[in-house]
Symmetry: C2
Subunit: 140 residues, 2 copies
């Protein structure tokens, strides 16, 4: 898998993948950038969420037409000193729809343990919460 | 650090950071998506390149007005079986401009070892090449 990322001046960069899709990144204004895109570390949080999201779409296929919303809130805890890597990341998985909590948890676990390429590329400790129709669902 | 990522139907997801910047991801058509954005794993490659890029902008500050181009080609080698995590990533750093090779290598090494939050969040083995004005520059 290949990608190419080019400097756009100051702290902005644009990645282009092999199909021509692009993604712009920038440092926030507080860190000397212009905030014209998410930061590289935010992009990693998004990649983790998107990866688990795609796994959940596949595992929950029989329920998809009953699912109105899936949102993944990611909270990354970073090392205090440089390098400020992710020590831990919590994923809060919000699902609204008519799907059993046990199925949602099964999808989260399958992604974490077996399928999610991004989760398994990171050395952060990952933890999960499931919020089903607005209420926290205990792990089965 | 927080981000929120929402399902947009099929295999597309949009991440929003705390400043309101967004990033769209999708699976490629070959994998059942619509290719409306880079994939989550491509996004990680871009995040790695952008992170090192920002470090290089900072370390090479005295030379910045003489640098015409910086491009980071990232090649990720993935595990054959699921989870298809990155086993190794090669970064090929292209710099065009009037800057000593030793300074470019120093920036790359400082980023790798000390500053790059993304590089230090990944468990892949990272390797680097520097191409300065079209020619490979040996590590000092």
């Amino acid at each position: 898998m290949k990608a190419s990322t080019t400097w756009e001046g100051n702290m902005a960069f644009t990645m282009t993948n092999e199909n021509g899709n692009t993604m712009r990144m920038d440092a926030p204004v507080a860190n000397g950038g212009e905030g014209s895109g998410p930061s590289p570390m935010e992009v990693v949080l998004g990649g983790l969420a998107g990866c688990m999201g795609i796994d959940m779409v596949m595992v929950l296929k029989p329920y998809l037409d009953k699912i109105e919303r899936m949102t993944f809130d990611t909270v990354g805890e970073r090392n205090d000193e440089p390098p400020r890597y992710f020590k831990a990341i919590e994923l809060v998985v919000h699902v609204d729809g008519d799907v059993p909590a046990s199925r949602v948890w099964r999808a989260v676990k399958l992604s974490d343990e077996k399928y999610c390429s991004v989760a398994n590329s990171l050395n952060a400790e990952l933890s999960y919460k499931v919020i089903l129709n607005g209420e926290e669902a205990a792990e089965a």
